[in-house]
């Protein structure tokens, strides 16, 4: 089931790093890029109280953010120079309550077309053991890079 992908640009690893380092919301939350391969990304978050909802569980919005951003970065590894990636839609299932201290997200491209890409993200939480707590499917569009003024 796992496909082999060719990178969309020679400097795909740097490009993906900029997608993490250059995204204020991702920096603000503390989400880090761990590894980037063509079509696959791993990211991580040290979970703090400020990431939680009113009953002490991880907020679904945090799981959504790491899942969406990772999927976008996985899609970006396959894009040619001059394109950027935008989320068209995503769907997230929360499978277990989010309790633990480290979130790990594994994102991979399911299908990359000319203008659209579909990727999946699996979100794991580590407490005593590591468990799959959420899974997302993300549809992304490849669009022309906005020009600098």
């Amino acid at each position: 089931m796992s496909e082999q992908y060719a990178p969309g640009r020679a400097d795909y690893a740097d490009f993906v790093r900029r997608i993490f380092d250059g995204a204020p919301f991702v920096q603000d939350l503390g989400i880090e890029l761990v590894t980037a391969e063509p079509g696959t990304i791993e990211s991580r978050l040290h979970v703090l109280r400020r990431h939680c909802q009113q009953d002490g569980y991880l907020h679904a919005g945090v799981a959504a953010t790491i899942a969406d951003h990772g999927a976008g970065a996985a899609a970006a590894t396959l894009m040619p120079v001059g394109k950027v990636v935008l989320t068209v839609e995503f769907k997230l299932n929360l499978l277990r309550p989010g309790l633990g201290d480290t979130l790990r997200c594994r994102s991979r491209v399911l299908k990359a077309g000319r203008t659209l890409c579909v990727a999946e993200s699996e979100v794991f939480m580590t407490g005593d053991i590591e468990r799959l707590i959420a899974k997302a499917t993300v549809t992304l569009a490849y669009v022309d890079e906005p020009r600098s003024p």
Copy 2:
């Protein structure tokens, strides 16, 4: 198409306020509750640079957070005392690029059952004019309130 709902508890408005005030992630982002009626919630966010992704647009994770949280709060207006609400899954379509300074989210219950509730959130961005930028469908579960230790 709009249904009339009876509140699930007499103090539903206070209960919903606690869902906003007591959620660290929602406070951290700056999302505010505007109005709460049985089955309907409105919330708001003053958009800052820290809410954006790498190309200057609102991060999809922020739209997801306000949409999910608002839907959960709308569901919570209909819940009896002793229950809390957990997101089972949600799906978000991003309809227009998120550029502007104020995000407004209108969430409403589509169907409330005994253990599950389906709600929708419409997310609007105000720049020069207000436009619908995202729409979400959220499935929520009513679960027993966690006991204090």
Copy 3:
């Protein structure tokens, strides 16, 4: 919330009729087009035993089919000549058990872009009264019409 749309082609009503009459699966099930306006479609199905699942409820696949096809047709009212519509993805929530004799589906475009369109379908079942039993969000792509050989 309801937007005004200009039709994508002068003969949009005939074009939509062909999308129903020319689709073998839709004909086989018995789904009929009721009305077509720019951006909005209504369709209908007389529910038979053969549309049901193992416990006597409408099969989710039938609700999915009418919701997807109606959304595609609604999107098609806004397309220029030479384009056809393909479903990229959809999400369907089943809100009530499907019991009754007539299914009515109201589909409308939420946002039409240059290459993508997002539409919603509301599926109602009439037994003693008419009730919303399902709601879908559908993402569609406008692609070039396949050439005849």
Copy 4:
């Protein structure tokens, strides 16, 4: 990533067979059960012209039906006696145009809780080669078996 599941009832294989044989819509379409293991199901459809949409591709509703039904059957392998399975919602991504003669669907449970189950279906089309053409995530509820009158 693949979990080991215990069957929910001793006669799970017969139970799943009845979910296929006893569902009029599934019989009408021609969908067959191939294999059933605890948490995993495989099903198949010989694609005919009547399963297609107006441009000759497999109708998305057919992919949705096999994906939803297979996911429900996979969930049913884990259910105790006295319960039946109902679809709460599903989301389907269409990854490639559906052209070919045999559809194969592999469904597996991602997470089974007490009242809810999340399953995935991968839909493959065989023409010259076999390719993944669609992927679905399905949320299901375990509900009490309807009593016979």
